[in-house]
């Protein structure tokens, strides 16, 4: 949906009732698709959802058993391979390039669709190749052998080859797979720019957050069907993700980039054998509790936190993890109502964790409430005196807590909670065990535990 819209009201790709069978199995089942000119559409979905198959059907490699695909008004499967490759360029998964062609030779092959067997190399071909090299910033190593390049450089060469085809449509199959975070972002930035210059791009993207950040629209596939399609915020909903991935995920706005942001959570039923491992209340603020909240929740505890100010980093973290937070207005002290609410949660909790938080008159009530805990874990990175702004009252409240609780450093919180809860869990290394068990199922999403780099990506820009 761009400036081209007025001249070309027709979408560039239109697929109707598209079904593909491979070896008797239906891989795509009744897909309807319309991609407008000048948009960047991300195909997302779990492994085996049919993302690659859909791309291969749009570029004519696979013939549908039912339905049709039109690109620029032409039925792709009625065209010759050459005619199709003037409409659709495909950037393959960055895998099998192990021959000794140099970069320029490889990019020149992108001109194959425009050349006749007897025709020579024309000026137009040469300038298209040079433009493609420049656009992808590959000119500097144009004379090096492709097999000597790094993965990120090779990816750019493959994009350059596709650009040399001078097609309106660009398909990319997992363009970020096997790239480091820097090259993932650079690759998608490049595609974004190309779309800004009038190309239309469809990419299968593994990483939901990268897809949400860079694509205009997403198409969520699962089991060969479209689960949802539209702008990222309408596609990436907890219900859709549950539906497609069977995953317990939380969707929030990223505080820095403003994109929709997905955090996959371990399935409680998997990590704790179907039951919660216990209730834990955390007292924190100013970001001191964020890490504990994540680890405890990932380890399968029912976590609550508070009281916190609205807008506090810990509040945001709790929200994105789906953790219940007791909150008060920004910059307001913890009032009686909130204190009562915290005390209630402390009473219900099997264990209370007090983070390495700075204590002032405003949140002293939290410490008072925590004193009612059955079991207490105090996190100390700095001596209390350094973070006490509540004077005598603060010291007294903390002394009470220290008498009753264990003091640990930040990294031992999970072990301490697990110990304090005794037989209720099975040791302190719950997260690593869970990550192992969940590793495969989580493959399709980005979880902070298994795929930290991709989750952090929007920050690194």
């Amino acid at each position: 949906m761009s400036r081209g819209e007025r001249e070309h009201a027709e979408p560039l790709i239109r697929a109707t009732d598209l079904s593909v069978e491979l070896g008797g199995n239906a891989i795509l089942d009744g897909i309807d698709l319309a991609v407008d000119r000048g948009t960047f559409v991300g195909l997302i979905g779990p492994n085996g959802a049919g993302k690659t198959t859909l791309l291969k059907t749009v570029n004519g490699s696979l013939t549908p058993s039912r339905g049709r695909v039109e690109v620029d008004g032409e039925n792709v499967h009625a065209l010759s391979s050459k005619a199709t490759s003037r409409l659709v360029a495909t950037v393959p998964q960055n895998t099998s390039l192990t021959f000794d062609f140099d970069v320029r030779q490889t990019v020149r092959m992108g001109r194959t669709p425009h050349r006749s067997r007897l025709g020579g190399w024309r000026g137009g071909d040469e300038s298209a190749v040079e433009r493609a090299l420049e656009r992808t910033r590959t000119t500097e190593f144009a004379d090096r052998t492709v097999s000597d390049l790094s993965g990120g450089e090779r990816q750019r060469v493959l994009i350059a080859r596709a650009l040399a085809q001078e097609t309106p449509l660009l398909l990319l199959d997992e363009p970020t797979a096997s790239l480091d975070i820097n090259h993932q972002v650079r690759t998608l930035e490049l595609v974004r720019e190309l779309v800004g210059e009038g190309k239309t791009a469809v990419a299968a993207i593994h990483d939901l957050n990268l897809a949400a950040h860079y694509c205009d629209e997403l198409l969520l596939l699962s089991g060969g069907r479209v689960v949802a399609t539209g702008p990222p915020e309408s596609v990436l909903t907890e219900a859709h993700l549950e539906d497609a991935f069977g995953a317990n995920a939380v969707v929030a706005r990223h505080p820095v980039t403003g994109s929709v942001y997905v955090t996959a959570l371990p399935d409680r039923s998997v990590s704790a054998g179907g039951e919660s491992r216990g209730r834990v209340h955390v007292v924190g603020g100013g970001g001191t509790a964020a890490r504990h909240l994540y680890l405890l929740s990932a380890a399968g505890y029912d976590v609550s936190v508070g009281a916190l100010n609205e807008g506090d980093t810990d509040t945001e973290t709790a929200r994105s993890l789906g953790i219940e937070a007791v909150t008060v207005d920004p910059f307001s002290p913890v009032d009686d109502e909130a204190e009562a609410s915290v005390a209630e949660r402390v009473a219900a909790a099997d264990c209370v964790v007090v983070a390495d938080v700075e204590v002032g008159m405003g949140n002293l009530a939290n410490l008072r409430a925590a004193a009612g805990a059955e079991r207490l874990v105090l996190v100390e990175e700095r001596p209390f005196a350094e973070r006490n702004y509540a004077g005598e009252a603060g010291e007294e409240a903390y002394r009470t807590l220290r008498e009753r609780g264990v003091v640990v450093s930040s990294k031992d919180v999970l072990a301490a909670v697990s110990n304090r809860l005794g037989g209720r869990g099975d040791g302190g290394d719950g997260t690593s065990r869970d990550a192992g068990e969940d590793g495969e199922r989580r493959n399709g999403e980005s979880t902070p535990a298994s795929d930290g780099a991709s989750v952090d990506s929007p920050f690194s820009r």
Binding site: A83, R86, T90, F101, Q105, T112
Partner: protein, 339 residues
């Protein structure tokens, strides 16, 4: 330097080499003849009006005895190296050579059958004709075995080729068992040889080979793109299955026409493309013509060795004896696994 200039420069150099090797080879034999005399005899035969004074016996030795064999060696070497380039590119496998899909075994079945059971062949076909026909039929059969739903996966083709080769090997062994007095001829043929060549064989191969080679040259760019993999080639506008069929058919006929007249000469189709790839790179527009010319020179040179000893040795033994160690040398010193 453009591809065209590089190709022309390499081919020019290799043509000069080929002419030199041919003239040198024509001087080698029981009667040694200096290259200048050889050149005069050849020119005199080509353009009688020049009227070089060359002894009649010398002219007969050069033009009627040695030259047909030398030219056939050149043509066979040219054909085997050409087919080797195509097969290695086609299979994206540096170990591929023209015999990989059973073409040579097929030719051997026809040739051995016509030696062992000298029945009357239809249409006046002789040993060479029979070998050619069975060779092409075998190639076609392997292709059909490996094709399903209009697609011919190269891995399947390779395996079908190996299976058919093994089967035909059994057929050949059985026929050899029943061959009796003709066993020596069979063995001699199977080892690959060029002795007893006449101008008739030379002219047939010389008529068949050039047009096929030109077809392959037209597909040189497509072969480059196919090296990227079939999916990529398709997305770059190559009709993959059709191109594969054409390459397979043409290179099979090229191989068959060489094997039918010379027997099974190994390693030329493997070694020569490899060596040239190291020199000129993977671009088929240069690799194909240079390998063909280098293959021609290589086989003329090895056949000269084969016939210059006290007793003639089948040239297949010489190519294998030189080729295999060279190949092992490449294997140990270079990254041969790369195309």
């Amino acid at each position: 330097m453009t591809v065209r200039t590089r190709a022309l420069a390499w081919c020019g150099g290799l043509c000069v080499l080929l002419v030199a090797v041919v003239l040198g080879s024509a001087g080698v034999g029981p009667v040694a003849i200096p290259p200048a005399t050889v050149a005069k005899a050849v020119l005199g035969a080509l353009v009688p009006s020049i009227g070089y004074a060359v002894e009649r016996t010398v002219r007969i030795i050069v033009v009627d005895v040695r030259l047909p064999r030398i030219l056939l060696a050149a043509l066979v070497g040219f054909a085997l190296a050409t087919a080797g380039v195509v097969m290695q590119g086609f299979f994206r496998n540096p170990m591929a050579d023209p015999s990989i899909i059973g073409i040579s075994s097929g030719a051997a079945v026809g040739a051995v059958a016509s030696i062992v059971f000298p029945f009357v062949l239809p249409f006046g076909l002789q040993l060479q004709g029979a070998a050619f026909v069975t060779s092409v039929l075998t190639g076609f059969g392997v292709y059909l075995l490996a094709t399903r739903d209009g697609r011919t996966p190269t891995a399947t083709l390779l395996l079908a080729g190996v299976a058919v080769q093994t089967f035909l090997g059994a057929v050949i062994s059985f026929m050899m068992l029943k061959s009796g007095w003709s066993l020596q001829r069979v063995v001699f043929w199977l080892m690959g040889h060029l002795s007893g060549t006449t101008w008739r064989e030379v002219s047939v191969v010389a008529a068949v080979l050039p047009p096929l080679f030109v077809v392959l040259l037209f597909y040189a760019s497509d072969m480059n793109v196919l090296l990227l993999g079939e999916a990529d080639a398709h997305s770059l506008g190559i009709e993959v299955e059709r191109t594969k069929r054409i390459l397979l058919a043409v290179s099979s006929v090229v191989t068959a026409s060489a094997v039918a007249v010379s027997g099974v000469i190994g390693f030329v189709g493997l070694i020569v493309p490899h060596a040239m790839r190291l020199l000129v790179g993977p671009d088929h527009r240069i690799l194909l013509p240079t390998s063909a010319l280098a293959g021609a020179s290589f086989l003329v040179a090895t056949d000269t060795l084969a016939r210059s000893g006290a007793a003639e040795v089948p040239v297949g033994i010489v190519t294998a004896a030189i080729g295999a160690p060279f190949f092992l040398y490449l294997l140990r010193t270079r990254e041969v696994h790369r195309l």
